[in-house]
């Protein structure tokens, strides 16, 4: 199957190289110097015993890499900065980078394209500027946007997309976007519509790099169980039985802050909603200033109150650093791990673009806590993957189950892990929104449906439910399978 993909890649290459050779002559190559690409050329112009079966050594390949190949880098942070450097020094010139963040002082220990003077500026812009000025001829185009702000016409233009994201939700969205670009003719996948996705992730001294060929190899959702949902502390522990300093900090963040609304705002009246999404770093507030983990005054307030809470229960260990870590859900990070994982990803981009070698098949993990450890394996496609199997996933519920149970399953199941799914279905010929959380007025209107049974809602066996969620750009289809 890989052979088809690569031969199509080369077809794309051959057609464009002709156009380009002309372009190069006109340009005159002002940003080249003698020997510049010697290290790269050996892999493009020489045959060898371990190259990809489709590989043909050629002096034109370098032109393809320099002039035609278009790479998209998602994220200009720890991995993104490294990726941009690695790609630029591997003869890629047409690079786009997307990042919605601005630069923070805590980025500077590893995001080496940024300096103290850049704090507050968009990462994508600063990263692009730096690379373009350091690597003559390289043209990085920045996009200070969320990935969701760009559409399929944007993503379709790239040969390869490489992600250096810090969020599983974003990864799944990207995964879904590339799956949505796939073209099937008579049930057969058109290899030309496949855009390889290289995905890297790091956390402290651990990291992983994987190669995804959408529609062909395991996708992000196929292996969702590798990222088990983050377990948060039980509410009763936080509210009445703290044991660890972390519990004290969560108490202040989730319960005390909304109650006391420091730094302005009216005090909230009545009960505080206890069961809300604990993954949000900001409590849901209808009045009052939202806790900002980046505001030292806010963190100081939380820290002091946490110390008081801890003292009540004779708990030691609350520090300012711990407070900030808990409030912002900080993941420790160093330059070295990001360098390793980005390098592995960039190597794969090079292999795929040049067909020089067979690419990683398909998942590598890395850990350098004790010596250096790597493990490489082939992640398998999941037969009934909710993202890439193209077959609606079965949902098994009895007709007397409440809609709330279906909602809980969508959010809590390890294989789905949705965030705030919106469920619609065709009832009596009309499209009906059963429940939607993200728009307040619709949430209010559809909330009563949660306590109704599926039968009461007019749903039938084998009926399709369409579910939208932040984890996917396209609606996911499910099929209700009634149990007795």
């Amino acid at each position: 199957m890989n052979l088809l993909l690569f031969s199509l890649f080369r077809e794309k290459k051959r057609r464009r190289v002709v156009e380009l050779t002309e372009k190069m002559v006109v340009d005159g190559g002002t940003c080249e110097w003698e020997g510049r690409w010697n290290h790269v050329k050996k892999f493009l112009e020489r045959s060898g015993p371990f190259t990809h079966p489709d590989f043909e050594p050629s002096t034109e390949s370098l032109q393809f890499m320099l002039e035609t190949c278009k790479i998209l880098v998602i994220g200009a942070g720890g991995l993104g900065c490294e990726l941009l450097k690695d790609l630029a020094l591997s003869s890629f010139r047409n690079i786009h980078v997307v990042d919605m963040d601005t630069i923070d002082v805590s980025n500077l220990n590893r995001q080496f394209l940024f300096r103290p003077k850049d704090i507050g500026r968009p990462k994508a812009d600063v990263a692009a500027d730096f690379i373009n000025s350091r690597i003559p001829g390289c043209c990085v185009v920045p996009h200070f946007k969320k990935i969701q702000d760009l559409d399929e016409t944007f993503y379709r233009q790239f040969h390869i997309i490489v992600c250096g994201l810090d969020s599983i939700v974003a990864r799944r969205w990207m995964n879904g976007m590339l799956l949505s670009l796939l073209v099937y003719e008579d049930g057969v996948l058109d290899p030309g519509s496949i855009i390889p996705l290289i995905d890297g992730g790091t956390e402290g001294f651990k990291g992983n790099a994987r190669v995804i060929l959408p529609g062909m190899t395991a996708c992000i959702d196929c292996t969702l169980e590798l990222y088990p949902p983050q377990v948060n502390f039980p509410m009763c522990t936080i509210a009445s039985m703290p044991r660890l300093p972390e519990h004290c900090i969560e108490y202040v963040r989730m319960l005390l802050w909304p109650k006391e609304t420091p730094f302005g705002g009216r005090k909230s009246l009545g009960l505080i909603i206890i069961k809300f999404d604990m993954r949000l770093t900001r409590p849901l507030l209808t009045n009052g200033v939202v806790l900002d983990g980046d505001d030292p005054e806010h963190i100081q307030w939380v820290y002091q109150r946490s110390l008081e809470r801890a003292a009540e229960f004779n708990i030691t260990g609350v520090t300012y650093r711990l407070t900030q870590g808990v409030v912002k859900r900080i993941i420790p990070a160093v330059a070295s791990t990001n360098a390793v994982i980005a390098a592995a990803c960039a190597t794969e981009v090079f292999k795929i673009a040049s067909s020089a070698y067979i690419s990683l098949n398909n998942y590598m993990v890395f850990n350098d806590v004790d010596g250096l450890y790597t493990y490489t394996f082939e992640a398998e496609r999941k037969e009934n993957c909710s993202a890439c199997s193209q077959v609606p996933v079965d949902l098994h519920f009895s007709p007397s189950s409440k809609l709330q149970e279906v909602l809980d399953y969508l959010t809590e199941s390890a294989s789905l892990q949705m965030k705030s799914p919106a469920i619609t279905a065709s009832v009596e010929g009309k499209n009906k929104t059963l429940y939607l959380q993200s728009v307040a007025s619709i949430e209010q209107r559809t909330r009563p449906n949660l306590s109704k049974t599926l039968k009461e809602l007019g749903l039938t066996d084998r009926q399709e439910l369409a579910v939208a969620d932040v984890t996917t750009p396209q609606t996911m289809l499910f099929r209700l399978s009634f149990t007795s």
Partner: protein
């Protein structure tokens, strides 16, 4: 201008959470030497400058070539013709104003000829793309001076690292999956008393459901022991029975239906590990038996003095066990019960550390050193990490390269699989040999590739013969290494850059465990191996 402490804390926040303020201090006091500012070299240094090492010095006699600029982020095309050490220092220095960068426009061979003690001042020396003879000379100087030496090379799609350090001690190894130190099999007196203060049978439901699982297991274990001739559950069958025994202790409501007691569920889940016998880990026993531990002198490092003190403690107050660690995992319990239990372990840990302290004092006295030479803080940290102590010892390069002491076993057993990463080590050795003979690397120019294959094969064969290695190296690898033409692709250099930098940080900070002693990375297959050579 050096940043203020507050802004440094902010800048380094994400890494301080990994190695702490004391780890950062060690980094800021370190002076790293890099030899040869190739892409591999500058990538390694970048990952040391960013986290804030105190200073670096680049030693490089080469001038910058067009090829150098092409794969190196820290060289620009207007550096061509200038000395490479100077050019790279400028752009590396620019990464972090907290770091002080220096350069010496000299080849390492010259320095070894004229001033080998130049290298004694460094915390660690990183040698990149050194010819074999230079590498061995430098290795010998650094070995005698006890300066850690990290040898790195990117050759085509292969990355290579060799750590050369005589003895590197690690107190804070930060193991990923540490077993808890709960002493359920041999409860110390204060723990026994604490357990006795509970009477599960007479407790109100709220208290019963919020009793820490450690107490629950302890109680049921005591009952079991009294009914089984003081024999704890040993095999799967007995452990199952024990789990069932605990399960029967779950309170039932008036209809006889078991209540929801999460603490009891935790107890049942933890039976397996809870019943692990408390013993000194083999790795620590080995350290106890080592020469450095048994022969404490005034030259002994604090590590060995403290280790000996712990050993003496084990044989005396510890009754065969290490000092109590003092930490317990979180568990379902009300605050007071948990804190009280935690305090039992904490206080015992403090007691044990104080006993170890006394032994430290005695030892220091016996070799004529003041008791303050080793702080209470250090002794406490040592005791807390007693189960996780590690010592890394690497053979010298001389030993690796000598025909008399080459590690034939390691090489031949790995090469049972002719595609194991060991083949790349042998190829790198063969390539070095080629360089020695021909003053160039194989296949650098296109026209050389084919002819060099047979020349390189001769080097391979002479290598295998010299060391009497009865292994087979496939022709494909010889061809591949000619194809590489000593290329240094940036992505492979960058992978090694991250790997080597972190190993250097481990050496400098004495936290986390360095590899030993040879690491090979294969970018073709994205695999790696650590070899002992």
């Amino acid at each position: 201008m050096a940043a203020t402490n507050a802004s440094k804390e902010q800048k380094y926040d994400r890494q301080l959470r990994l190695w702490g303020d004391h780890g950062q201090e060690a980094l800021e006091n370190a002076h790293v030497c890099l030899i040869n500012a190739t892409a591999t070299g500058t990538e390694i240094l970048k990952n040391l400058v960013l986290p804030g090492i105190g200073a670096f010095t680049i030693v490089d006699g080469h001038t910058v070539s067009g090829e150098d600029v092409g794969n190196n982020f820290f060289l620009s095309n207007n550096n061509i013709g200038k000395n490479r050490a100077q050019a790279a220092t400028e752009l590396l220095q620019e990464l972090n104003s907290d770091v002080s960068g220096n350069y010496v426009e000299e080849s390492p061979d010259k320095l070894l000829d004229n001033d080998p003690e130049f290298f004694h001042r460094f915390t660690v020396v990183i040698g990149v793309h050194l010819p074999e003879s230079t590498c061995l000379r430098l290795g010998s100087v650094l070995w005698s001076a006890s300066v850690p030496f990290l040898v790195c090379k990117t050759y085509g799609l292969i990355g290579y690292m060799r750590l050369v350090v005589q003895e590197h001690t690690v107190i804070e190894s930060h193991p990923d999956n540490a077993l808890e130190d709960l002493r359920l099999d041999q409860p110390f007196a204060e723990f026994k008393n604490h357990i006795q203060s509970y009477d599960l049978d007479s407790m109100a439901k709220k208290d019963h459901s919020h009793t820490p699982w450690v107490i629950v297991v302890a109680k049921y274990l005591a009952k079991w022991l009294s009914e089984h001739n003081s024999q704890p559950p040993k095999n799967y069958k007995e452990k199952e029975a024990f789990r069932q025994f605990i399960r029967e202790g779950i309170l039932k409501n008036e209809n006889g239906v078991p209540e929801d007691e999460e603490n009891f569920e935790e107890a049942i889940k933890n039976v397996n590990t809870a019943l692990n016998p408390t013993k000194v880990p083999n790795s620590v026993e080995d350290l106890f038996n080592s020469e450095q531990c048994n022969n404490i002198t005034s030259q002994s490092l604090s590590f060995w003095v403290m280790l000996r003190a712990v050993k003496d403690f084990v044989h005396k107050e510890g009754n065969g066990s290490l000092p109590v660690r003092g930490t317990i995992p979180d568990m379902i319990a009300d605050s007071q019960k948990f804190i009280n239990l935690q305090n039992v372990y904490r206080e015992k840990a403090m007691q044990d550390a104080a006993a170890v302290s006394k032994h430290v004092e005695c030892l220091l006295q016996s070799v004529g050193k003041p008791p303050e030479s080793i702080s209470e803080k250090d002794i406490k940290l040592f005791c807390k990490n007693a189960s996780f102590l590690r010592v890394v010892r690497c053979r010298s390069l001389a030993e690796e390269y000598s025909v008399d002491s080459v590690n034939k076993d390691e090489i031949t057993s790995c090469m049972d699989n002719p595609d194991s990463e060991m083949v790349f080590y042998l190829m790198l050795r063969a390539v070095d040999r080629f360089y020695q003979q021909h003053s160039r690397y194989p296949g650098v120019y296109n026209y050389q590739v084919e002819d060099d294959i047979s020349k390189l094969k001769l080097c391979v064969n002479s290598l295998l013969q010299e060391y009497s290695l009865n292994v087979n190296i496939k022709d494909d690898y010889i061809h591949e290494f000619c194809r590489y033409g000593a290329a240094e692709p940036h992505t492979v250099a960058a992978f090694l850059g991250g790997s080597a930098a972190q190993e250097a940080i481990k050496i400098i900070s004495h936290q986390f465990v360095p590899f030993s002693n040879t690491f090979i990375y294969n970018a073709m297959s994205q695999t790696s191996a650590t070899l002992q050579l």
